[in-house]
């Protein structure tokens, strides 16, 4: 039988921590690269509805977000409690949506413009009337690819 030589010295050498900074730096660089700084802070309530038959939105750079929801309490005084549209961090009217989409679309290379998706992030308490108005505007500017962004049913508690 093979005998494993057992060292009889009672002191086990301490684990070397010389490589620790390397590992930490590696993790640091990983998180630095995957981090996306939030483009805008939401001034509205934005609890999305839940759905199961969803598709992932690929290509973040070809997605234009439109947020809809009731203004949060610091803004409720000025903008009321009815759901409002938020574009690029600012409150907007329905008539502002068209120019905003056109402006965003102009910054995308021409051969990719057909692939632009409008992500409608609408609060679940909003009414369809406002959404319908936005849809009409989107049709007018010929931005027909929309995505009703929702939470997936498996994890309804997640935040955007």
């Amino acid at each position: 039988m093979l005998k494993i030589p057992v060292s009889h010295s009672s002191r086990v050498p301490a684990v070397s921590t010389a490589a620790l900074p390397d590992i930490v730096f590696m993790l640091l660089f990983f998180f630095m690269t995957v981090t996306t700084v939030k483009e805008q802070s939401l001034k509205i309530e934005n609890t999305l509805p839940v759905a199961t038959e969803i598709k992932k939105l690929e290509r973040r750079d070809l997605v234009i977000d439109i947020h809809v929801g009731a203004p949060l309490s610091p803004y409720a005084e000025t903008f009321g409690n009815e759901p409002q549209i938020q574009l690029n961090g600012k409150f907007a009217r329905v008539s502002d949506v068209g120019p905003y989409i056109l402006e965003k679309r102009a910054s995308v290379p021409e051969h990719l413009r057909a692939l632009i998706t409008i992500s409608l992030k609408v609060d679940q308490k909003a009414r369809m009337g406002l959404v319908q108005d936005i849809k009409e505007v989107l049709r007018e500017v010929h931005a027909l690819k929309v995505n009703y962004t929702t939470y997936s049913a498996e994890r309804p508690q997640s935040t955007p």
Binding site: M32, T52, E58, L120, K125, V131
Partner: protein, 187 residues
């Protein structure tokens, strides 16, 4: 050194949000009216109406949300004129002729809650997905939704995507998604 790196690491850990958005994809109808009027038989249209209280009126009858998916599937899968050889429906003469002709028309009130609207949309897309999954299982032995997700994923290898493209297209043609979002009723 390591301390500073740790500090930065913790900062990025806390601020990181890995965004993956997902939702229901839809195409809006173009604003230009079609060149010629298309005549569609009433029996090929499946009307779903949502009122402001979130109640459903499906084919002129009040319906519970949990029955909607099955009703939509029955309608799409009906195959009334016998030209659909993969349909497993009842061949009811008063329901849709063929899945390629069947249209689901969804109408809502301006006061309808967005959450209700999405739930109904979800059920209708689910009906299409269920039927497409059934056909994909029969033809290729795997789910359509899984194939489509792999096809749409940009990380999938090109040769696999080319192979999937034809399969996905074929299944989509068997049950084309014709979901009309008619203009909202004003009252």
């Amino acid at each position: 050194m390591a301390d500073i790196a740790f500090l930065l690491l913790i900062f990025f850990l806390v601020t990181t949000t890995i965004e993956t958005d997902a939702g229901l994809d839809r195409m809006l109808p173009p604003i230009e009216p079609p060149d010629q009027d298309v005549v569609i038989k009433q029996k090929n249209i499946f009307t779903v109406n949502i009122n402001k209280n979130g109640q459903l009126l499906v084919e002129e009858e009040l319906m519970d949300l949990k029955n909607l998916r099955q009703a939509a599937k029955d309608f799409l899968d009906n195959g009334g004129d016998g030209t659909c050889n993969y349909c497993k429906g009842r061949n009811d003469d008063s329901s849709s002729d063929n899945p390629t002709k069947a249209i689901i028309s969804l109408k809502n009130d301006r006061e309808t809650k967005y959450a209700t609207y999405i739930t109904v949309q979800n059920e209708l897309v689910g009906a299409y997905n269920d039927l497409r999954n059934r056909e994909a299982q029969r033809l290729y032995g795997r789910d359509f939704t899984e194939m489509e997700a792999e096809y749409l994923n940009p990380e999938t290898a090109t040769e696999i995507r080319d192979d999937l493209k034809d399969k996905v297209k074929r299944i989509q043609d068997l049950f084309p998604q014709k979901l009309s979002e008619a203009e909202t009723s004003t009252n």
